[in-house]
């Protein structure tokens, strides 16, 4: 109980900022009679949300499924690539330039091509979310696996440890916190990927809701959809943080202590 109160007290500044921001917004819109199609007041956005809430669940689910699907496949691909690149120097030399090129290409600009290749369904969402979210996982996983104390490698060498032993007992555990950092970067990217896919051509999802609302000059609905994207991103982030906490508590406590100290 005291923990909750303590938490509230500590987050009161953040909550205050958000509430204050909404109040200022509302006041300015009312004071200057800003038309709703230009900038809707928070109350107008809320009213629109309440009116359409029963229709929105499906779209949130569609975008969410695409983003999570892309994130999961992207993270797994990224992890496998990272493991391969850490195991083999030749593979690292071949793949690293490809990764850098891949990262330099603005993948969202490729979205129309993905639509040609994968159609307008769920597949395109997943693919775009995947290609955009796997890079931070690869980079962080590689860093996590290679920032092992040299002397730990010496130790493993003196007992003739196999590569598999080194991978499973040293490199991967060492990379766990790094992989979570990569995933946290990847979460909002995956949502952007899914929404961009929906901007191309689709019949559902929050990106589709934005397109339709803009077509109808229903600006409050645009805001509703964008806020729902943010909420989706926050929930995924929260779920990831929970998973991180569950995995890291105990074994990776030393990191928290290092940060405090």
């Amino acid at each position: 109980m005291t923990d909750i109160l303590e938490g509230l007290r500590r987050s009161s500044a953040s909550i205050g900022t958000v509430v204050g921001f909404i109040l200022v917004w509302q006041t300015l819109v009312m004071l200057f009679h800003v038309p709703t199609w230009l900038v809707p007041a928070p109350t107008a956005i809320w009213a629109e949300f309440v009116k359409q809430a029963h229709l929105l669940g499906r779209h949130v689910m569609t975008t969410g499924t695409g983003a999570v699907g892309g994130l999961v496949i992207g993270a797994m691909t990224g992890l496998v690539l990272a493991i391969l690149m850490v195991q083999s120097r030749i593979l690292a030399r071949i793949l690293m330039p490809l990764l850098v090129i891949d990262q330099s290409v603005p993948k969202l600009a490729l979205a129309p091509i993905f639509v040609i290749w994968f159609g307008t369904g769920m597949m395109t969402r997943v693919v775009i979310a995947m290609v955009i979210s796997f890079f931070p996982v690869v980079i962080n996983a590689i860093r996590g696996m290679t920032t092992v104390d040299r002397r730990v490698n010496d130790l493993m060498a003196t007992i003739s440890a196999s590569r598999l032993d080194i991978l499973t007992k040293v490199q991967l555990p060492n990379a766990v916190p790094y992989i979570f950092s990569g995933l946290k970067v990847a979460v909002p990217l995956s949502i952007i990927g899914a929404v961009v896919a929906e901007f191309m051509q689709s019949d559902s999802g929050l990106g589709y809701v934005v397109l339709v609302a803009v077509g109808n000059v229903n600006t409050p609905m645009v805001f509703v959809a964008v806020l729902l994207m943010a909420l989706l991103s926050l929930s995924l982030f929260a779920a990831l943080s929970l998973a991180e906490w569950l995995v890291m508590r105990g074994r990776f406590n030393y990191l928290a202590i290092e940060n405090d100290g």
């Binding site: 730990v152 130790l155 007992i159 555990p173 074994r251 030393y254």
Partner: protein, 274 residues
């Protein structure tokens, strides 16, 4: 297992010993050159040394004299530029495959996500020792180093001395014949260091290991060793090999004895710091 060790007193001028000795570890005419961007660095020059089975040898010298390099060569972590290293007449690689080498570092180098027990377990897992036997060995070795009751703690919950005990336990867990220790107590405070020295001698006497102990502390070398190998820096050469005849067991107050002080003075002279 006890071999009759011929006790040969080595003076500075006859330290060169042929490689095929009955000794446990033999370094013969070792030269080590590191190639760096600024040119070659001669870390070791014609180092020959023979370490007997179950002997406690200290490598003493200032930093940069290549004493850690010698340890790395015995561990097989680096190859000599010239010369040979053998352990029990076999190559270093063979000794490594036979799991004859245990390493202990200055700051323990523990895996922070593994508990005390799990850290000791690491080499045993690599050696594919069945769980039952693993547990028994962990228990025995933790008792040996005085870490009973701390099995479930994590390294960050341990003091510096306890971390070193854990590092020693891990090195002893798979029962290697040779223990290579690289300034293991260098980061500890003086009091903990004294305690750990006493503890190490107890463990060494109990487990009958060959210990090669790198240090830059004259007092530590004099207190612990059977023999002290004094090294000179750049390139690392053996200045002298001194027999340490101080009686065992050695209590801490032995350091006040005239013999201890005389030995320390001799070592200090050889190091050129007096």
């Amino acid at each position: 297992m006890l071999q009759a060790n011929t006790v040969v007193s080595l003076r500075a001028d006859d330290v060169r010993v042929p490689a095929m000795d009955a000794s446990d570890i033999a370094l013969s005419e070792i030269t080590k050159v590191f190639q760096t961007r600024r040119g070659d660095v001669h870390a070791l020059d014609a180092v020959s040394l023979s370490i007997r089975n179950k002997e406690f040898v200290c490598l003493l010298g200032p930093s940069g004299c290549g004493k850690s390099t010698i340890l790395g060569l015995i561990a097989g972590l680096a190859k000599p530029s010239a010369g040979t290293v053998t352990i029990d007449g076999k190559s270093v690689d063979a000794a490594r495959r036979a799991h004859q080498i245990g390493l202990v570092f200055q700051d323990a180098v523990l895996l922070p996500w593994r508990t005390v027990s799990e850290n000791v377990s690491l080499p045993l897992e690599v050696l594919k020792i069945p769980r039952r036997e693993r547990e028994a060995r962990i228990k025995a070795v933790l008792r040996l180093v005085g870490l009973e009751g701390f099995e479930r703690r994590f390294p960050h919950e341990l003091s510096g001395g306890m971390k070193q005990r854990l590092g020693i336990a891990r090195a002893l867990s798979f029962d290697p014949q040779v223990l290579l220790m690289d300034e293991p107590f260098g980061a500890l405070d003086a009091i903990t260091r004294d305690n750990m020295s006493i503890e190490l001698l107890r463990i060494w006497e109990q487990r009958q290991k060959t210990v090669v102990f790198v240090t830059h502390s004259i007092g530590e070398a004099a207190f612990l060793s059977d023999r002290v190998v004094v090294l000179t820096p750049r390139p690392g050469r053996i200045a002298a090999v001194i027999d340490n005849a101080l009686p065992r067991p050695r209590p801490l107050n032995m350091r006040d004895s005239a013999e201890f002080i005389a030995l320390s003075r001799q070592l200090r002279t050889l190091l050129g710091t007096e």
